[in-house]
């Protein structure tokens, strides 16, 4: 039996908004998930090439060690193993986008109509055509997703979200679970375990995207009023329709910029974000954290699931390879966010050092049937292992 085979795509949970797929489209996703998994193994060769070829060659020539990740990048760029791995990984990500878009764009109207039907007359979807897309989102298509989260190719388009929803399975090789909600589930369980008496009445999720990770929170606290905001209307239309179909009715999806929300001061018990801050910008990140502080009640909780931080004991090589996705899979702000300490970010908004917390989290994966348990190399930038930082506001 082969080790570590990813689950087949059709294992993911079906709901009314999930795009229809043909036999070949599913097969294409299966191929790409396997290719991603394969390349995580090929990536192991980069470290070997670095230690046995790149580094010794540099030291021999210059009589000193490589100084920083920039220098490392220039040197390793000449290495043939790094070259082939990089070009294959880039190509795989582009193919993943092509595969997803070719599924959703051919049925753009049908998906839009499904969302319209599920969303019709519901007060829990609030779109605002005056909401401006932040400049940093207009500057880049994060993770090579043409048109990003906001572009509408047809009126009331939902295809950016449908593409994201159907294809995230490929990028993570199925490690986020049937509903791709392994992050939301993990954080919900952590919160419950740490404070079994925590009973939030109002919860805010910022940068909710298509709602993958806010729904487990809403399900765990059915009496809470949950508000999920995003600037991308296609994401919100899809997120709301998906939540309706999944029978979750206590989430209100609103189009709003997290840097300037319209909520009252001290009006939330819990403010959450998941895989959000690394797709913002150098000034906005502080503005958004200020908003988090402002809308949080005294005694309220805020948590942010993010990519693993750099640590001091990380080798130069490890820092370099962790940043590969940031530049070559177009998540540019991620390469800059490393320079900000989460504690400093939170302190700048008024949170106190003694109230700060930082934990590690791993996705809860209901797709794991044991075939995933074998030793696996970490797929830098893709593995569902995260850093969670946050605080209680006091």
């Amino acid at each position: 039996m082969a080790k570590n085979i990813p689950p087949v795509w059709n294992k993911i949970a079906k709901h009314a908004m999930l795009p229809e797929t043909t036999h070949d489209e599913r097969a294409r996703y299966n191929f790409l998930a396997n290719l991603n998994k394969h390349l995580a193994h090929v990536s192991q060769g980069n470290k070997i090439a670095y230690e046995t070829r790149v580094e010794p060659k540099f030291e021999k020539k210059h009589g000193r060690a490589i100084r920083d990740t920039k220098e490392l990048g220039q040197e390793i760029a000449k290495d043939p193993h790094y070259q082939i791995w990089s070009s294959l990984r880039r190509s795989t990500m582009e193919m993943r986008q092509q595969a997803g878009r070719s599924i959703v764009l051919r049925q753009a109207e049908a998906l839009r109509d499904k969302a319209r039907t599920l969303n019709a007359g519901k007060a829990s979807l609030v779109l605002d055509s005056n909401c401006e897309i932040p400049a940093y989102l207009l500057a880049v298509d994060n993770h090579l997703m043409p048109g990003s989260y906001h572009t509408e190719l047809i009126e009331d388009d939902v295809t950016p979200a449908a593409n994201y929803d159907s294809g995230i399975f490929v990028t993570t090789a199925g490690l986020l679970g049937r509903y791709n909600d392994g992050g939301g589930k993990a954080i919900t369980n952590w919160v419950r375990k740490n404070d079994p008496n925590f009973n939030p009445k109002r919860i805010l999720d910022i940068g909710c995207g298509m709602g993958h990770n806010v729904l487990p929170i809403a399900r765990a606290f059915p009496d809470a009023e949950v508000i999920a905001i995003d600037t991308g209307a296609p994401m919100l239309r899809y997120a709301h329709a998906r939540a309706m179909d999944l029978g979750i009715t206590n989430v209100k999806f609103m189009q709003m910029d997290a840097a300037k929300t319209t909520f009252e001061d001290e009006s939330f018990d819990w403010v959450q974000s998941t895989m959000f801050f690394h797709e913002t910008g150098g000034k906005s990140i502080y503005k958004i954290m200020n908003e988090v502080y402002r809308v949080l009640k005294p005694g309220g909780l805020t948590l942010h699931i993010e990519q693993p931080q750099y640590t001091d004991d990380m080798s130069l090589f490890e820092k370099f390879i962790r940043d590969w996705d940031a530049l070559n899979n177009s998540e540019p702000y991620w390469s800059k966010m490393h320079d900000i300490e989460p504690l400093d970010l939170m302190k700048a908004s008024g949170f106190k050092e003694e109230d700060f917390m930082q934990i590690g989290a791993k996705a809860e994966n209901d797709l794991d049937d044991g075939s995933q348990n074998a030793e696996e190399p970490e797929d830098h930038g893709r593995s569902p292992i995260w850093n969670v930082f946050g605080a209680i506001k006091n």
Binding site: T92, G147, P332
Partner: protein, 117 residues
């Protein structure tokens, strides 16, 4: 209706990084990998067909060998498939043209821009 075939293969913002000394290598590699993918897709489909036929006791290999389209509709269906197929495997050429038409900043430059936003 939108041109879903062309749009599916569009390029994302930012200058595309190339990793090989000669960009031609990258181009050919991308085409080859896409073809490899389509071969895998076909293999999965054949596997489905063979299993279903086997289950039903209906393996008509000769009939498959001799088949040609017998209606305009089928002919067009097949040709559309080819069109979509070619666009998929030649994605990188389309994207290089898009970059030529619309030269982009590097992601590093964009990161610096974004850092000021």
């Amino acid at each position: 209706m939108i041109d879903y075939i062309k749009l599916a293969s569009s390029k994302s913002k930012g200058k595309r990084p190339y990793f090989h000394d000669d960009p031609a290598v990258e181009r050919v590699l991308n085409i080859t990998m896409a073809v490899a993918g389509e071969l895998a897709v076909m293999r999965e489909r054949m596997d489905s067909i063979e299993r279903i036929l086997e289950k039903k006791g209906l393996v008509l290999r000769e009939e498959i060998e001799n088949y040609v389209p017998d209606s305009k509709e089928i002919e067009e269906e097949r040709q559309t498939w080819h069109s979509e197929y070619i666009s998929r495997i030649l994605r990188i050429v389309q994207q290089e043209m898009e970059e030529l038409e619309n030269p982009d900043k590097s992601i590093e430059d964009i990161a610096n821009d974004i850092n000021e936003m």
